[in-house]
């Protein structure tokens, strides 16, 4: 269990950075501010589920940003500065290092998210709304998972290069692709598949599955399916196959949280320091 020692040191280190404290504070603040603002924006008697769908736009922007910022220097930063040399002089496996660092950073972001959601949901409850503990717990879990996915992607970027500048550019590239342009790409995919004779004006289900496997799409579907009660559209409508539904979306988000970090570890394990 030596990764717990790494994780504890890492948490201390993360918390010691003023920039990181600001970032995490901003995340918590956004959730709390949302809990206050929802009453003013067309939800006279908001529920915890309304709160979840109200927040989706902000969360889909802020959580990936902070997740990538937390993750993308994890390995490469320490490697470039020489802290990794000190760390691996101690009896740690590289797996301990990756697991400890990943969990510490995912926990840091997760804590900010959880504190923010709890505060926000309490504000939603007062004075006219309602607070459903199960919904809040599920919403927190899903959002923490979404954050962990981007910490994991950041970590994978971090292990793939020895230059912090390259890692920063790559993290920005991921953010730009997933958060900024992905939702605009649907038309491009339709046209490309149409050109190949694989689609006819709309995406076939396998293509919808792939297109919808981007973490932000998954997160929106999770919120739409579980909290907003959306029952229409190509993913959640009555015609849609099961593998486009919210449960599969939740499972895929778990894959995003663990997959890239695992690949990052495999890459890190096989390279010289």
């Amino acid at each position: 269990m030596s990764w717990t020692v790494v994780a504890r040191k890492e948490l201390r280190d993360v918390w010691g950075s003023r920039r990181t404290r600001w970032l995490l504070g901003a995340v918590a603040f956004a959730f709390i501010a949302g809990g206050y603002a929802i009453v003013l924006s067309g939800f006279p008697e908001p529920s915890s589920a309304d709160y979840a769908s109200y927040m989706v736009g902000v969360v889909a922007l802020l959580v990936p940003l902070v997740g990538l910022l937390l993750g993308h220097r994890t390995i490469v930063g320490e490697r470039a500065s020489g802290e990794m040399t000190l760390l691996l002089s101690l009896p740690y496996d590289r797996l301990d290092v990756v697991v400890g660092k990943f969990l510490a950073r995912a926990i840091a972001l997760g804590t900010a998210v959880a504190v923010g959601i709890l505060g926000g949901a309490a504000l939603v409850n007062y004075p006219f709304g309602s607070f459903e503990a199960g919904t809040v717990a599920a919403y927190t879990l899903g959002t923490v998972l979404y954050g962990a996915a981007f910490v994991g992607v950041g970590l994978a970027v971090s292990t793939a290069t020895t230059s912090t500048a390259v890692a920063s550019s790559a993290a920005f590239g991921v953010f730009f692709l997933f958060v900024v342009v992905w939702s605009q790409l649907r038309g491009v995919f339709v046209a490309a598949l149409g050109y190949l004779g694989l689609a006819d004006g709309r995406l076939p289900t396998w293509a919808l599955f792939l297109y919808g496997a981007e973490p932000g799409m998954l997160y929106r579907r999770l919120v739409d399916g579980f909290f907003a009660g959306v029952e229409q559209g190509p993913y959640l409508g009555p015609e849609a196959p099961w593998f486009l539904g919210e449960w599969v979306a939740a499972a895929l988000l778990v894959v995003w949280a663990l997959g890239p970090a695992t690949l990052g570890y495999l890459r890190f394990r096989s390279t010289d320091l």
Partner: protein, 303 residues
């Protein structure tokens, strides 16, 4: 069982051979000096001991355990002062020591370690504010935690003031008396000469020589160095000197003749100069220093 053993250990980076078929054995309980210029391959060998870098060919074992297969077990028995490290800027000295202790699964008294390495007054300051020398002391302290069986010290005196270097030597001796094997790399001869039982000389990736310091000195070519002050130190007399049977080489240094030769040839050289009409004003002899020996071993690719 040797503390460190390498078999045909090689490391190549593209076309560059950093370490070339090194066979090295460090016995348990000795203080071994690993000598070479910067870039000679010392750190690459150490990086392979620590599993930071993987051998292109060959193996390296510590206490009979392969450093790749049993990397964590190997490092559990080691205390390491690596090269090119950085401390955690935001953690204090005390937090560093505690982290090292937790990592090795031992309980420590941080103050007594801080005292031992001489950072007592700085132990609660953030390590990011430490000077290079203080960071070096801190990391030495981390290396000593858990009474390791093998201390790996890569250029340990870099950044240390003379007092710090002396303290380092004292600690090395204390640890050795406790039973630890010490593997000490340096490009500074005096450092190695002052503490080590045996020395290995690395040059351009090859292990050129391994022996005790005394034995290396004895085997140094030429033996004694003779310096002769004369009234007319001109080049032409160098031939006269070199014509003497047994002389290894002769050259002009600071307006005097410098000659390397076995001890019993000294008088022959002086006699030959006198016969050639040169006035010998003064002369002195000098035992070969490790520096001369080092130059000897690394000049033409060794033995």
């Amino acid at each position: 069982m040797p503390a460190i053993q390498t078999h045909e250990l090689s490391k190549r980076y593209g076309d560059v051979t950093a370490v070339d078929r090194v066979d090295l054995t460090v016995e348990e309980g000795e203080i071994f000096g690993f000598l070479g210029h910067n870039g000679a391959g010392k750190s690459t060998v150490i990086n392979m001991l620590l599993d930071f870098a993987r051998p292109t060919e060959g193996q390296v074992e510590v206490f009979g355990m392969d450093c790749r297969e049993h990397s964590v077990d190997v490092r559990e028995r080691m205390g390491v002062l690596p090269e090119g490290y950085d401390v955690y800027d935001r953690l204090t000295g005390r937090q560093h020591l505690q982290f090292a202790a937790e990592s090795k699964g031992v309980e420590i008294e941080p103050m007594s370690i801080a005292e031992r390495v001489g950072i007592r007054d700085a132990v609660d300051r953030r390590a990011g504010d430490y000077s290079k020398g203080m960071a070096q002391r801190l990391v030495l302290g981390m290396a000593l935690i858990g009474d390791p069986d093998l201390l790996i010290l890569d250029e340990p005196t870099s950044g240390l003031d003379p007092g710090g270097a002396r303290r380092m030597r004292e600690i090395i001796h204390e640890e050795n008396e406790r039973g630890a094997t010490v593997f000490f790399s340096s490009h500074i001869l005096e450092q190695i000469e002052a503490v080590c039982d045996r020395v290995g000389i690395m040059h351009e990736g090859r292990l050129q020589a391994v022996d005790t310091i005394d034995a290396l000195r004895e085997s140094a070519a030429g033996g004694t160095k003779l310096q002769i002050s004369v009234d007319d130190p001109s080049e032409t007399h160098l031939d006269t000197i070199e014509a003497v049977d047994g002389v290894d080489s002769a050259w002009i240094e600071d307006e005097t003749f410098a000659v390397t030769c076995p001890s019993d040839v000294k008088m022959d050289v002086l006699v030959a100069l006198d016969a050639a009409g040169v006035d010998v004003l003064d002369f002195s002899t000098e035992e070969p220093s490790l520096e001369d020996l080092f130059v000897e071993y690394t000049r033409e690719g060794g033995q």
